[in-house]
Amino acid sequence: MEKLKRAVELTVMNEDAMLEKIMQSAPKTQLGHLSSKPVWLKVGLAFSLVLFLVLARDIFLPKENSVTIGHVTANDKLAYAMVGIDINPSFELYIDMEDIVIDVRALNTDAETLNLNALIGLPVNQAVGNVIEMAKSAGFLDVTGAKLDTIIISTVSFGADGSRLISELKLALLSSRAIDRTVRTYVIEGDEDDFEASEEKNLPLGLYLINGMIRNDGVTMSVAEFVSDTGNLEILEEMAEHATDSEMISVIRALIDELKKSGFDVSGFETRLNRQGEDLEELIEDLKDAFDPEDDEVDNSIDDDSDSGSTEGSWSESDETEDHEDEEEDD
């Protein structure tokens, strides 16, 4: 059986043959591979290998070998993806394969005023929510609701599949209570070329991507400037990643469960969730509103007259009727 075993080792995942191929295709200034050889041999072999690589690179080197997996951050962390957040302060969150933030970078002086290091070690969905909370607390987002703020979340994956990350981000933004009706968010995906180009231009990825969507005669617009044009906004809507119905429903269910655990009567929300044609985005906003009992804009009413007698979402029985009447007037 020994010969058969040896033959299989030669045929299947041949350790030595594969090492030889790796050493041929890897950069040739060497680790320990030549360390035990005399200097003249090292030089000779190194020269031959370099010559060989130069001549044969295009023929023999598989294209995949040029793919670099991961990105080394300024703090020497190996990241598999970057999530850019452009509010007015702009940040970059670098994450590992488990979607944990391993490094952060402030891209402007506004961003430097925030304690970004607190985000390291957090799951990216939580970190994004925290960043938005921080920006709100620091006054970078309007908390009065007098104006609509826009946040651009941009992503790039370095050799990894970014679809799961985007899905997580969409869910995080949908469920984040820091994001209400006064804030609109857009998730856009860039590739590694976009990332490199944005670095070269010294621009946050999000700004680079949105400015690439339009002809701006070389003048880079801020997020606020960009979205002030309805035409630009339409393009952004078109280009951004949107949550699917099933993603929205999962967020709605989670919010309803959370409210229910807090003792909130959620029957009105449940009815709306099960109703055909319900505006799910609006339902999410209403659910988020319900978490803040002081917010008079909570709208958990059901438009359908037949449901008007049903139990509406409320924190206390005594306030329910009065609050609801106010809400209808507001509408």
Binding site: V12, P27, L31, G70, A160, D161
Partner: protein, 174 residues
């Protein structure tokens, strides 16, 4: 945290190769694809460790992560071909006894000739031989990894031995 900049890449390679290969081997249909993926992982690792000289906490876990990354790309670019069996081989009969004889005959040939004969086996049988001899798995473990009945694994294995013997004998006679 260790710095591998000064360490021998070959040492890391040999220390981790089997675990990484096994991790990839059963996740792709063809052995050649598994080899390409493992090679890419080590080439990129070499590039990263050597060029950047960056510290890595757990090399094996890092390599597995890189392999998972490569596998994702592989699945994106390629239809994940399930392992298909061309016939129903659930009956073992007296094949084990015959296989002892086949094994004795196979062992009389040169390793290189046996290796060439293995390449002529159906892909699924090559896979089973690899699992059995390269990764030293039991029939039960192979059946779990390949998601096929254990009896089928055994039958295919014994029949593959018979085929190997036939190919080798046939080649030597011509």
């Amino acid at each position: 945290m260790n710095r591998y900049k000064e360490q021998d890449f070959e040492t890391i390679y040999h220390a981790t190769f089997k675990a990484l290969s096994k991790h990839v081997y059963f996740k792709v249909a063809q052995t050649s694809d598994a080899e390409d993926i493992v090679q890419n992982v080590y080439t990129n690792f070499y590039h990263y460790v050597h060029k950047k000289g960056k510290p890595i906490d757990n090399v094996q876990a890092y390599l597995i992560q890189m392999a998972n990354n490569e596998l994702k790309t592989y699945y994106q670019n390629k239809t994940n071909e399930p392992i298909t069996l061309d016939d129903d081989l659930d009956i073992l009969e007296n094949i084990p006894d015959e296989s002892d004889l086949a094994m004795d005959i196979i062992e009389k040939f040169e390793i290189e000739a046996i290796a060439e004969a293995i390449k002529k086996l159906p892909l699924i049988d090559q896979k089973i031989m690899g699992a059995r001899f390269r990764f030293e798995l039991t029939f039960r473990e192979i059946s779990v990894q390949l998601d096929i009945p254990e009896n089928t694994v055994k039958t295919r294995y014994y029949r593959a031995l018979g085929q190997l013997k036939s190919v080798l004998v046939g080649t030597s006679e011509t």
